[in-house]
């Protein structure tokens, strides 16, 4: 029993990574109706850049190796910058050139291209093998009865909660948040009302870059190792969590991400590691038959979008 509880705790921590990545997906799909495939590589890029900065320092000999916190900050900054480049090169460029408000296949395909390019550039630069990323509290634990909660896990959870909370406040209580929600519901009317859509769309990419960055940081702190393939693995599960929870809903991403995390650790514990993909995706398919819109399904997804 205690072992199962321990797996649930580990699953929630793993879920925190999925939640954060799922939110990044959710933001671009909910507001722009754009399934942005560059999110997994941005997540991976954060962690790899953080590792490289901690190992070698900034490029071109600009600094000596950075400490862990500065290295993670560096990784997050790179993810945000890369996200803005993606906006320029996929979403905005393709949109401006091929116009039509309902044409999403082109940005989607070009974002797939970015996925492969970023991932393979990282492979070329740093190889495919895992690299260690250590923090001062890497091996510290708290014990509650027989349960172990590691300090990195706790730290990650707090970081994930803080970013989710901050995002929900931003969406609810700032003018830009309202503008984002109004674009999500009716982009044409928002434009005609004078909402500065051209300036607000990049904000979506900054936020999703930030979420990818935080997720990458959480992963690096929590598991102490980073590798070029980590984006794929986490990205798939995050999409599963997002769909399970309901597209376009913050709560959906949270609940869906945690469920996927817990199901994953429990199925490893109970049935072995090979069963994870089959169980997670099988569960998703069953859930979708019962409730196609997801747990907190959103109304407007897939209708006329920007």
């Amino acid at each position: 029993m205690i072992l199962v509880l321990q797996q649930v705790i580990n699953g929630v921590m793993l879920g925190a990574v999925y939640v954060t990545v799922a939110l990044a997906f959710n933001l671009t799909i909910g507001i722009l109706n754009f399934l942005n495939f560059t999110i997994p590589p941005l997540f991976m890029l954060t962690a790899m850049v953080a590792w490289a900065s901690a190992q070698y320092g900034l490029p071109f000999g600009l600094s000596s190796p950075l400490n862990w916190a500065a290295a993670l900050g560096d990784g997050i900054a790179v993810a945000i910058a890369a996200s803005l480049v993606v906006e320029r090169m996929t979403f905005r460029y393709m949109k401006a050139r091929y116009g039509d408000a309902t044409e999403h296949a082109i940005p989607l395909v070009s974002s797939l291209g970015f996925l492969l390019i970023i991932e393979n550039l990282v492979r070329m630069a740093y190889g495919t093998e895992p690299h260690r990323f250590t923090t001062p509290f890497t091996n510290m634990n708290l014990r509650f009865g027989g349960l172990i909660v590691s300090i990195p896990q706790l730290f990650s959870l707090v970081l994930a909660l803080a970013i989710v909370f901050g995002l929900s406040r931003l969406l609810k209580y700032t003018r830009i948040g309202r503008a984002l929600r109004s674009i999500a519901e009716n982009p044409d009317a928002s434009l005609l009302m004078g909402v500065d859509v051209g300036r607000i769309v990049p904000v979506v990419f900054v936020l999703s870059g930030l979420l990818c960055g935080v997720a990458g940081a959480i992963f690096a702190i929590n598991y102490g190792q980073v590798y070029a393939g980590m984006g794929n693995e986490v990205g798939n599960k995050a999409i599963a969590g997002m769909v399970l929870g309901g597209l376009g809903s913050i709560w959906g991403a949270i609940v869906g991400g945690v469920i996927v995390g817990v199901v994953e650790t429990l199925s490893i514990h109970l049935f072995g590691g090979d069963t994870v993909q089959a169980i997670v995706w099988g569960l998703l398919l069953v859930a979708l038959i019962v409730r196609p819109q997801g747990i907190f399904g959103h109304h407007a997804i897939g209708k006329g979008k920007l």
């Binding site: 700032t174 003018r175 519901e185 044409d188 009302m193 004078g194 109304h299």
Partner: protein
């Protein structure tokens, strides 16, 4: 003697794949006036509206807002310059609250990132919300500011859409069939409401099929038929005009 011209169309033409929908249309809308744009189905009224608001761009001609040609401006820029519109089908954000919908209309007056990122509880942003709420109250819609608009009756949503359009502080407000789908009582109510809007100094240009609303609300009427302007004068004498009668009732030998 006449009030200044605030909105003018000069030889505006628009064709869709070769078919001329609006041909050489010119008219003036005078400041403070309530002008109706009417015509049989397919006359090009809504197209004229879309040309003015910028949803379509004109093939030829000029659209002058307070003397400036806006024909090449983007829709959002036109809103910032003093043009607002409502839609034939309601285009509120269904899952935003009433007051949030109205606040979306304020974005035309927002400039810069700092404005956008300031949290709402700060005093400067509180002022935006207060303005939206007091506008709603001024037009008798103050009872449910936090209700989601999807839950409200059609007639009320129509009015909210107009209040939202007013938040950009427009010089000219374009209303596309405001009475469509309303019953007689709601239409009378809407007429009083729009009179109140006009008294705030907003010039109204209205596309409308309901002639009782046009007669009671608008002093000036423009009639389109097959994309051509066939009448431009006082509403009182529109129904005596032979060209208008022919457009609505068919040529004399058919009507007889």
């Amino acid at each position: 003697m006449d009030a200044a011209v605030v909105l003018a169309l000069r030889n505006v033409t628009k064709a869709f794949s070769g078919l001329k929908v609006v041909t050489d249309v010119s008219f003036d809308v005078r400041e403070g006036q309530r002008t109706a744009l009417i015509g049989p189905n397919g006359a090009g009224k809504t197209t004229v509206f879309n040309l003015i608001s910028g949803a379509y761009s004109a093939d030829r001609g000029a659209i002058l807002l307070q003397g400036t040609d806006i024909a090449a401006k983007r829709p959002g820029e036109r809103t910032v310059m003093g043009l607002a519109r409502s839609f034939q089908n309601i285009r509120l954000m269904p899952h935003l609250s009433v007051v949030e919908n109205v606040m979306v209309g304020q974005h035309a007056r927002t400039r810069g990132m700092m404005d956008l990122l300031t949290p709402l509880w700060l005093k400067r942003n509180r002022a935006w919300r207060d303005e939206a709420e007091s506008q709603l109250r001024a037009f008798g819609l103050g009872t449910y500011p936090n209700e989601v608009t999807a839950n409200l009756p059609y007639g009320i949503r129509k009015k909210i859409e107009v209040v939202r359009a007013l938040m950009s502080h427009p010089k000219v407000l374009l209303l596309d069939e405001p009475a469509a789908g309303l019953n007689t009582r709601e239409t009378g109510d809407l007429k009083d409401f729009l009179m109140g809007v006009a008294e705030h100094g907003v010039t109204l240009l209205i596309v409308e099929h309901d002639m009782s609303l046009v007669r009671s609300l608008c002093e000036h009427t423009i009639v389109l038929n097959f994309g051509l302007k066939i009448y431009d004068g006082p509403t009182a004498s529109v129904q005596e005009d032979p060209a208008v009668l022919e457009a609505y009732l068919g040529p004399r030998h058919n009507a007889a």
